[in-house]
Symmetry: C2
Subunit: 226 residues, 2 copies
DNA sequence: CGTGCATCTTAACACTGTTCAGATTCAATG
DNA sequence: CATTGAATCTGAACAGTGTTAAGATGCACG
């Protein structure tokens, strides 16, 4: 089954048709495998992934991926890295939407982060799976750092600290607090842990907004000496 | 590979030392399997687990676990549930340590939560793996709720809201904020995402303390109307 | 026209989870 | 005490999995 596609209209041209592969060489296997993996993640979740299934979907033998990615973790690392890049794009869009007000910026970034997680559950779960993708890979670290740098800059702006200036411990604590909070909220939402709460009050986005409001309004007041 | 299946010339022997299985019936297989699974998680991480390995470790055939847990997920669900129970115990200890001051209580709970995660990385990772253990299982849900109820009560005390009283949206936001923050911090710490930061400032526990201080001190000031 | 080389296939290996018919033992009943 | 029914565990089998090695294939460049 699945061998039905017959479209030999174009003879010996570069064909990247998904299933129909009458050429021995695929031509763009790397991208095709990534696309296949993403499709599987979307349909069957992160647990339903298998390297062989991805190869099957790309119309290629089970051992073909090894040549391009070495490992199953190699392929998934690439998928995760692209996920972080997409997340970074979303965060940059939110950055523009936020405008000049640091508080509004932070709120938009937080909403964008959570929205991305809810929109791509399996991909986000994969991004934080140490045992599926190799977190040491430079490709992944770089993509992830790019996304998190956006968040850090927003907190720095909120605290009125120049991008180059060193952080005092309290500001550092706030950066981590913001990061942890948004990340934790996204994870809990993905695990369905917030569904109960979501029933009592609106959808997750308004809940998050309320949470961010509570935080930000509290933080605008300087701390009581310490 | 190497494990030679030396045919047991003598059927009923007490060759095995501690877990001597001279009987056909194991007697306490359920607990033995849980212990084996926990040992594997400890040694090889959550990715290195396999049902067959757990059975092997308990000195039992690969199909024996099915009778007690049905599934691999069944066994892991039991492990996760026990993990939540142990977490709840730790949280209760922290509760006593916190004393009467609501802020101190929250801080101790947060530290205990993160400390537990860092002390049992694989177990905690398992607890939030939807695809490994069945999150619908009553056993698990109950154990998890028990732990989270402690956190909720602490936040309510901090806000001066009686245990039975309904929460206004702002308080609800704070509960979620606290929960998300601690959970997110723990997850990020497990993923090693905080190692860079930990290098610049002390260990993770002091970082967390600073973060909690920043949050709590900010939150003691009432919000600017709104 | 070769020929090198990246690309892909076929075949095999050592695993995995799960199922099912049977062997074994326990416990309770007659 | 003996018998029997239920609980427990074994052994073999099946369908998949990731990974590797050795061999086919076709593109690009001399």
């Amino acid at each position: 089954m699945g061998r039905g596609h017959s479209a030999p209209a174009k003879p010996a041209e570069k064909r990247k048709g998904a299933a129909a592969r009458q050429h021995y060489h695929h031509g763009a296997l790397k991208d095709a495998l990534v696309a296949a993996a993403e499709a599987i993640l979307l349909e069957n979740g992160v647990g339903g992934f298998s390297l062989r299934a991805a190869a099957r979907r790309a119309g290629v033998s089970p051992s073909a991926p090894a040549h391009h990615f070495g490992d199953a973790a190699g392929l998934l690392t690439e998928v995760a890295a692209r996920g972080f890049e997409e997340l970074a794009r979303d965060l940059r869009e939110a950055e523009e939407r936020g405008g000049a007000d640091p508080a509004a910026l932070l709120r938009e970034l937080g909403r964008a982060y959570v929205a991305f997680a809810l929109q791509h559950p399996a991909r986000v779960r994969l991004m934080f799976r140490r045992d599926m993708c190799d977190p040491q890979a430079e490709r992944l670290k770089q993509a992830a750092d790019e996304a998190y740098a956006l968040l850090e800059n927003a907190v720095r702006a909120f605290c009125g600290i120049a991008p180059e200036e060193a952080c005092d411990p309290r500001t550092m604590g706030m950066i981590l607090a913001a990061w942890s909070m948004v990340h934790g909220f996204a994870q809990l939402a993905l695990d369905g842990a917030l569904d109960v709460v979501a029933g009592e009050m609106g959808d997750l986005d308004t809940i998050l907004s309320q949470m961010l409001s509570a935080m930000l309004s509290a933080l605008t007041v300087p701390p009581p000496s310490k």
